[in-house]
């Protein structure tokens, strides 16, 4: 069941011209994905794997679109080459809305393993990284989207369990 924060995030995407979203699902992102399905202004193309999704986003950008990828932090283990040789190499703007699994509140021990590497991988790739921990942090989203379009880089927005479970 979608919450206010899910609707707010999708509304910020629409207001900032995002018209193409690809995703690989995560439990924390289910509400956002549910709202996306009812959002006419955005074409949502689910992908099977996140590097495939980044290919779709690259194509949408080349066609004049404004893409976003929605994915889990574990996928950073999949997309390093695509980030470096496609998105960064060709100077493509790509906001990545990432569920930051493995942080406080995480019920699955294995998720902690990739949480340990998440910020290190992003730092190694020189990817601007923002961390949403409480709902007020989402106030930065419109600015982050504009910043991404300006600098034409992939940008990571990490959203942890505390952010998603905060009372409305």
């Amino acid at each position: 069941m979608a919450k206010d924060i899910d609707r707010r995030i999708v509304s910020d995407l629409v207001e900032n011209g995002v018209d193409f979203v690809t995703s690989v699902p995560c439990k924390q992102l289910a509400g956002v994905l549910e709202v996306l399905e009812d959002t006419q202004a955005i074409r949502h193309v689910p992908s099977n794997k996140e590097d495939e999704g980044m290919g779709l986003c690259a194509g949408a950008y080349l066609g004049g679109g404004k893409p976003v990828i929605i994915m889990q932090n574990t996928a950073l283990g999949v997309v390093v080459n695509t980030l470096a040789t496609l998105i960064q190499f060709y100077h493509m703007p790509l906001p990545m809305l990432i569920s930051y699994r493995g942080e406080v509140g995480e019920p699955v021990a294995c998720q902690v393993e990739m949480a340990l590497h998440t910020k290190a991988i992003l730092a190694q790739l020189n990817i601007p990284t923002y961390h949403f921990h409480t709902p007020v942090d989402a106030d930065e989203l419109p600015g982050i989207l504009r910043h991404t379009a300006m600098c034409r880089k992939p940008v990571a927005i990490l959203t942890d369990a505390s952010f998603w479970s905060a009372p409305e």
Binding site: S47, N48, E52, M54, L56, L62, G63, T85
Partner: protein, 186 residues
């Protein structure tokens, strides 16, 4: 016929269209045969030509031809289900299937053994899948463009490369002139 022959036969058909071309030898061969601002050359990232092509086709209305290879499609096999389920009638995926990894020394792929990418594409739900001989590829692409239906073409050709230079054009130039070409007249 090898891939270079197929690409050469395709030039009159694809020269004025948006083309996304697979990494390595295919992009180098296309670049040396007929460099166009409407060609997007992949200089890295194995496997994503079909995904970039689909995203491009969905984002705008001009016809898009993605030239991919059998090894590249095998590395991103999920792409065929994404294509099937997100129909875009301005999209043609041309898989030049020479049964080998051409850019790395012609090692055999599984598509050259038991796996049929034509059958995989059909099983993934692609409605229009055409398998043709190398010599018939240009006709198959012409027919698909005229039909205005999303089509996957599997062109069966022989393994082998022609020695051509690597692409030294700046990648941001490749991307920006391509974006301008996609936007032209819209």
């Amino acid at each position: 016929m090898i891939r270079h022959d197929v690409l050469k036969s395709l030039i009159p058909v694809i020269s004025d269209h948006l083309v996304v071309c697979n990494i390595g030898a295919p992009s180098q061969e296309l670049h040396s045969l007929d460099d166009q601002p409407s060609n997007f050359y992949m200089l890295g990232t194995m496997g994503l030509a079909s995904s970039i092509g689909l995203g491009l086709a969905l984002a705008q209305n001009k016809p898009v031809i993605a030239i991919d290879g059998d090894g590249s499609v095998l590395t991103n096999l999920g792409t065929l289900s994404t294509i099937a389920n997100n129909r875009s009638d301005n999209f043609i995926l041309l898989i030049i299937d020479n049964g080998s990894y051409g850019s790395t020394g012609d090692q055999p792929t599984y598509a050259g053994r038991k796996t049929s990418l034509t059958a995989v594409a059909k099983a993934c739900g692609c409605d229009d899948v055409v398998e043709c001989a190398a010599a018939d590829t240009a006709d198959a692409v012409t027919t698909a463009l005229a039909a205005g239906r999303m089509t996957v073409i599997v062109s069966k050709c022989e393994s082998g490369n022609v020695k051509v230079p690597v692409i030294t054009m700046d990648q941001v130039v490749i991307g920006e002139r391509f974006r301008a070409e996609a936007a032209r007249g819209t």
